[in-house]
């Protein structure tokens, strides 16, 4: 019984992937979603900037923890050509609107009520953060949020801004 377990264990180890921070390649899939003020924002329209696409929800504790750090990064680098797009994945945007009234942020917040963009980006954890370079290609993805991730976000944003 124990031998069978050991074989299983080795097999699973071999098959598992490294997680958390990964590099990506290829063009970032384009999307257009409604924003807070009622207008539509598309990813293609932000080309030329470094874009951070963050998938979040009000019911997700690490997503809420991450928000102030995202706001700090946005305020610091926005004038250098950095855009932050926070895509809310909830089917009913009312919860997100109410939460944003209590915790205001200045970056763009979009509502993906039908989860089409979330599926397009194959979101596998909550939150998920994708970094897109000035040329529109995906470079990095972060799965989840742990305190300390914001330092890595800053390093990657700075590196992409220098390109």
């Amino acid at each position: 019984m124990l031998r069978a377990f050991s074989v299983l264990v080795v097999g699973c180890l071999a098959a598992s992937l490294a997680w958390a921070a990964q590099t990506l390649s290829g063009p970032a899939p384009n999307f257009t979603l409604p924003s807070r003020d009622g207008g539509q924002v598309s990813l293609a329209g932000l080309k030329g900037n470094v874009v951070m696409v963050n998938f979040w929800a009000t019911w997700c504790v690490p997503c809420r923890q991450e928000m102030p750090h995202l706001e700090a990064i946005y305020e610091k680098y926005h004038s250098l050509g950095f855009e932050l797009v926070a895509v809310n994945v909830e089917n009913n945007p009312e919860g997100a609107r109410k939460w944003l009234e209590e915790t205001p942020v200045t970056f763009t917040v979009l509502f993906d009520a039908k989860n089409e963009v979330t599926k397009l980006y194959k979101v596998q954890t909550m939150p998920s953060t994708v970094l897109v370079a000035r040329d529109g290609t995906m470079r990095f993805i972060h799965h989840g949020y742990k305190p300390g991730f914001e330092a890595e976000y800053q390093n990657q944003v700075r590196a992409l801004l220098r390109e």
Partner: protein, 80 residues
């Protein structure tokens, strides 16, 4: 008779989970991480008020012959 019955169920549960691990170490979840808002709602927690549930468990165990297999965890937002 019932004791071996419970033990057998335990072995089956362990075995079933092992088989699942064999079939796919990284299985495609049928409930996506962004579809967990109902599961993340506090009313869906198995143990919303631990200070109360541990007291209730004590009241029951002190007066009943049975003990064990109380409480539960899991579900929730599945974040990170």
């Amino acid at each position: 008779m019932r004791k071996t019955h419970v033990r057998a169920i335990a072995r089956v549960a362990v075995g079933a989970t092992v088989l699942c691990a064999l079939s796919a170490c990284s299985i495609e979840p049928w409930v996506k991480p962004y579809e967990r808002d109902h599961l993340a709602d506090p009313i869906m927690s198995f143990d919303r008020d631990p200070v109360s549930s541990s007291y209730t468990g004590h009241v029951q165990e002190a007066r009943e012959g049975a003990r064990g297999a109380t409480g539960g965890s899991g579900g929730g937002c599945g974040c990170n």
